[in-house]
Amino acid sequence: MKIVISVIGKDCVGILAGVSNKCAEYGINIIDVSQSVLQDMFCMIMICDISAMNVNFSEFADIMSVYGQEKGLSIHAMHEDIFNSMHKI
């Protein structure tokens, strides 16, 4: 099962490291990362595999959302099906 983690916020040192660490902590395998910095806004999309995840998904979504708030970032972890169903026929 794949999820999409999106991170949007003001660019600073350690965003990628912080989010990756969280993924490792909960047994989530990062498959693909794309990131861009527009002016000073940082935007990162991670595609991850959660088949070996060691918490349940809704807990993880909450954890990431709280982590985002602490760091001043907007972080959303969502199941990939929502994007597939919305953008593919």
Binding site: I45, S74, M78, H79, N84, M86
Partner: protein, 452 residues
């Protein structure tokens, strides 16, 4: 592979443009709860609802987390209670209302609909007793919604029922005048009521439905408006195309959630209602879409045409996105629940007469309109009759949910809070239709009914 721009588009829709699933509604048949002893029947109703819907709220909350999309309401619709009441020796319908209220509180849903009667072609004794009890039932409960179907294209319009409903609407407001007349906001009078509608106040679980189903209503006026705002300079064909594409995306979300809820709860998926349902939140307004299309203020000349195009495009986009479509399906135009409609009504651009014209081309009817507290029951009945006639002749659902603002007059304001919103008390033509309404009888089924 999912593209970054698609991911960001979805996230923007949810975070900034108020995209949400408006409701997941579980339809539950209560036909197997019928009993001649009303207390036994109530116990069966309570047991069935609390068993079937036990996990409804928790599973929906889990789905919200999984997909990151808010599900605003979790609701239940049940078999019209008049059908259960018919079998009871003691005809005390409010007992059913209190039972439904208790069950709704137990499972934690926002609303439960189905305190209803279908009387388009005539009354049973139970129908009459239930209709007369509606004001009391709505006054002593918080979560119950009531609806009465008084007409259809197939049957015509039951004018005796129309007359009754004018009084019932007025009394529902009177009995709850210390709570902003909220009783009348939970009561809707239908022509051609759909049996699988997930939206309140008109949801009930029709007799032709399965034992238990999941129906989903989507939202998203803010998304449509934002899409239009980003694409200036399109001609109307282009605008219709853009709305269609956006409605497709919105509905796909509804289909996904409906399928997921259905499989988690082990209940068949019923329908997705292809709706554009506004909320009082700024930006989440159907009126603002019409203004984005190019009207100075909703209600001005051109509103009906723009709304007709919008409604049609929403259906065309939505119908391809879902395997089963039903309910009300179309753009909703409730006044107090839509920031743009509220503004248009306050500044005098939007009148009840214009709203009536708009209902001929959109999803439902005269919805959430505050009218002066001294409006007579006959005038309310006549408003219902006008609206039902539009539905009957055009083979579409129409409805009336007006709130007589007891103690208030035109220009005052009435606030309900939450999704029901607030709005000005609108002007009503005070000419008396009393003789017409008091004639009673039945408007015969129109020629459109003879399709066989």
């Amino acid at each position: 592979m999912i593209e970054t721009k698609d991911i960001l588009e979805t996230i923007t829709m949810i975070q900034e443009e108020n995209l949400d699933i408006r409701t997941v509604t579980m339809g539950i048949s209560l036909l197997d709860c019928i009993d001649s002893d009303i207390d036994k029947a109530c116990q069966k109703v309570y047991d069935k609802i609390t068993t079937k819907a036990e996990r409804l709220v928790s599973e929906c909350e889990d789905i919200e987390k999984k997909y990151g999309i808010p599900i605003i309401n979790k609701r239940i619709s049940v078999t019209p209670i008049a059908l259960l009441l018919g079998a009871c020796e003691k005809k005390e319908p409010v007992k059913f209302a209190l039972t439904l209220e208790k069950a709704a509180q137990k499972v934690g849903v926002n609303f439960i609909g189905g305190y209803s009667a279908l009387v388009q072609k005539g009354f049973t004794e139970a129908d009459k007793i239930l209709i007369e009890s509606i004001p009391e039932a709505l006054a002593v409960t918080d979560h119950i919604c009531s609806s009465v179907n008084i007409g259809s294209t197939k049957a015509g319009i039951n004018m005796d029922a129309v007359k009754m409903m004018g009084q019932v609407v007025k009394e529902s407001a009177e009995l709850t005048k210390d709570r902003n007349c909220i009783g009348a906001a939970k009561l809707v009078v239908f022509c051609n009521a759909p049996e699988d509608n997930p939206f309140m106040a008109g949801a009930f679980h029709g007799v032709g439905e399965a034992d238990c189903v999941i129906n989903v209503g989507v939202s998203g006026p803010g998304v449509v408006r934002a899409a239009l705002a980003k694409s200036k300079g399109l001609d109307i064909t282009g605008v219709a195309e853009l709305i269609k594409r956006t409605a497709f995306k919105i509905t796909r979300m509804g289909q996904l959630v409906a399928k997921e809820a259905s499989s988690r709860l082990n209940v068949p998926f019923g329908i997705v209602d292809l709706s554009l349902a506004p909320t009082p939140a700024v930006g989440d307004s159907v009126a603002y879409i019409l203004e984005e299309i190019g009207l100075e203020c909703c209600g001005c000349a051109g509103t009906t045409a723009a709304l007709a195009m919008l409604n049609d495009a929403v259906k065309k986009g939505g119908v391809m996105a879902s395997s089963k479509v039903g309910g009300l399906s179309g753009a909703f135009i409730p006044v107090t629940e839509d920031a743009g409609m509220i503004h248009a009504a306050e500044c005098g651009s939007l009148t009840i007469e214009k709203l009536e014209a708009m209902t001929a081309v959109c999803s439902v009817g005269l919805d959430m309109i505050n009218i002066p507290g001294d409006t007579t029951p006959e005038v309310i009945s006549a408003i219902i009759a006008d609206e039902a006639a539009i539905g009957m002749i055009n083979t579409k659902t129409t409805a009336v949910r007006v709130i007589p603002a007891i103690g208030k007059k035109e220009g005052d304001s009435l606030s309900f809070g939450g999704l029901l919103g607030e709005g000005p008390v609108m002007r009503v033509n005070k000419g008396s239709p009393a003789v017409f309404i008091n004639r009673g009888g039945q408007i015969p089924a129109p020629i459109q009914s003879l399709k066989n």
